[in-house]
């Protein structure tokens, strides 16, 4: 771990992982707020959530 192999050293740095985490943040925000809006609008009632 301290001494990376040549193959490890040549591996690309993390780019896509952090981008995906950021996108998941927005997605979670949108999904959560849409669900709250649907509940407050009466579209999703207590009977719909088991």
């Amino acid at each position: 771990m301290v001494q990376p192999t040549p193959a490890e050293a040549a591996a690309p740095p993390i780019e896509t992982a952090s981008r995906r985490a950021i996108n998941e943040d927005w997605l979670a925000t949108i999904v959560g707020l849409v669900l709250i809006a649907l509940v407050l609008a009466g579209v999703i009632g207590k009977g719909l959530v088991p």
Binding site: A17, T29, G32, I36
Partner: protein
């Protein structure tokens, strides 16, 4: 994004099977929902099946969810299907959506009152634990970038912080994989140990929540442990953890600057403040917006109790479903073999920093939250 996803990137296994991309995605989603349904069923019925076993009545759904996930993960591992069926196992997405929904069940005034002590606790904890981890990592001869990842993970918010730190210091994928595996390995026992310790130490729900939120690394594990202690503890734990999450951007920018200017000494490099926004965990905005909307909805209603019942469908009923699915994913993604792969020294750094975090967080939670009331 789950740690295991990052930890075990593979060349697309889908091409090697007959189901196709969407087929595996659908199978993965169906499996996760089925496991979630099983957890709900167990949570409702196990205590009824054994009415004489009193302790079963206090077993909360996170425990069933993690156990079901562990068993499912072991079976999928034996069948060689874990990688192929992981598409829907989005721990971070599920937990963050659950936290946005949880925001609806917390009055905005409570968040505003808790913000002061939560920020103070986070600043002291993050800086102390980060420096302890960085120092111990240096003593044990750990690579600078791995030290940065380990320190960010243990002091801020686990996998998300490790990802942010990896971007800041340009770490390699396998370095992030080691650290995220460690985070998950340490998080799982803490979900059970810390609520037990809080009960043993007879902490109030608020102090227990602040301790859990300040100490446990991953947001998912904080949520699970907070749920086991109770609703009040969960609310404070979520506020404290969200505050720590919000500071991730600041640490990422400082790390970027340190590596650019001190470690790699890049000529003419600049670190923009735009990185702060880029690293800011956006779901916290959703958490605050949910709280504001629900507070306004209840305050403006002619019958606040009826309005509160409507809000509870989102803030409690739906939220519990997202948490169940997230906790199942935690169990599925648990891979004890990762400890062996990571090696002894990073494990030692993580363990020492975790103990320091545990003690410091307890002191700070007791000092800052003892007089706090959720009412």
């Amino acid at each position: 994004m789950s740690g295991a996803e990052i930890a075990r990137p593979v060349a697309s296994p889908i091409a090697a099977t007959g189901l196709g991309r969407w087929g595996w995605a659908a199978a993965s989603l169906v499996l996760l929902l089925a496991l979630g349904g099983l957890v709900r069923y167990l949570d409702t019925n196990v205590a009824k099946w054994f009415p004489d076993v009193n302790w079963l009545k206090s077993v909360e759904f996170p425990i069933y969810a993690i156990l079901v996930g562990l068993i499912a993960g072991a079976i999928l591992g034996v069948l060689g299907l874990r990688e192929r069926l992981k598409v829907a196992f989005r721990t971070e997405f599920l937990i963050k959506t659950g936290l946005v929904l949880l925001g609806a069940s917390i009055n905005l005034a409570v968040i505003a009152r808790a913000a002061g002590p939560a920020i103070l606790q986070s600043v002291i904890l993050i800086s102390s634990v980060f420096l302890i981890s960085w120092w111990v990592g240096g003593l044990l001869g750990i690579d600078m970038k791995v030290r940065a990842l380990l320190s960010a993970a243990v002091s801020i918010c686990g996998v998300s912080a490790a990802i942010a730190a990896a971007g800041a210091v340009s770490a390699r994928r396998e370095q992030l994989a080691y650290v995220t595996s460690l985070v998950i390995i340490f998080a799982l026992p803490s979900i059970f140990i810390q609520p037990w310790l809080a009960q043993t130490l007879q902490l109030s729900p608020v102090v227990a929540g602040a301790w859990i939120g300040g100490n446990i690394d991953t947001t998912a594990a904080v949520t699970a442990a907070g749920t086991i202690v109770g609703d009040d503890a969960l609310k404070i734990a979520a506020i404290v953890k969200s505050t720590q999450n919000a500071m991730m951007g600041i640490v990422a920018v400082l790390l970027t600057a340190y590596f650019v200017f001190r470690v790699e000494r890049v000529e003419g490099a600049r670190v923009g403040l735009g990185a702060l926004w880029q690293r800011f965990p956006k779901f916290i905005l959703g958490f605050l917006a949910a709280s504001a909307v629900a507070t306004l909805f209840i305050n403006a209603a002619a019958d606040p109790k009826a309005a509160g019942d409507i809000v509870a469908v989102a803030g409690t009923n739906l939220r519990v479903w997202f948490f169940i699915l997230a906790f199942v994913c935690i169990g599925i993604e648990f891979r004890p073999a990762a400890l062996r792969e990571a090696g002894a020294r990073p494990v030692a750094v993580f363990a020492i920093a975790s103990v320091a975090n545990l003690v410091l967080a307890l002191i700070l939670a007791t000092l800052l939250f003892s007089g706090f009331s959720l009412a």
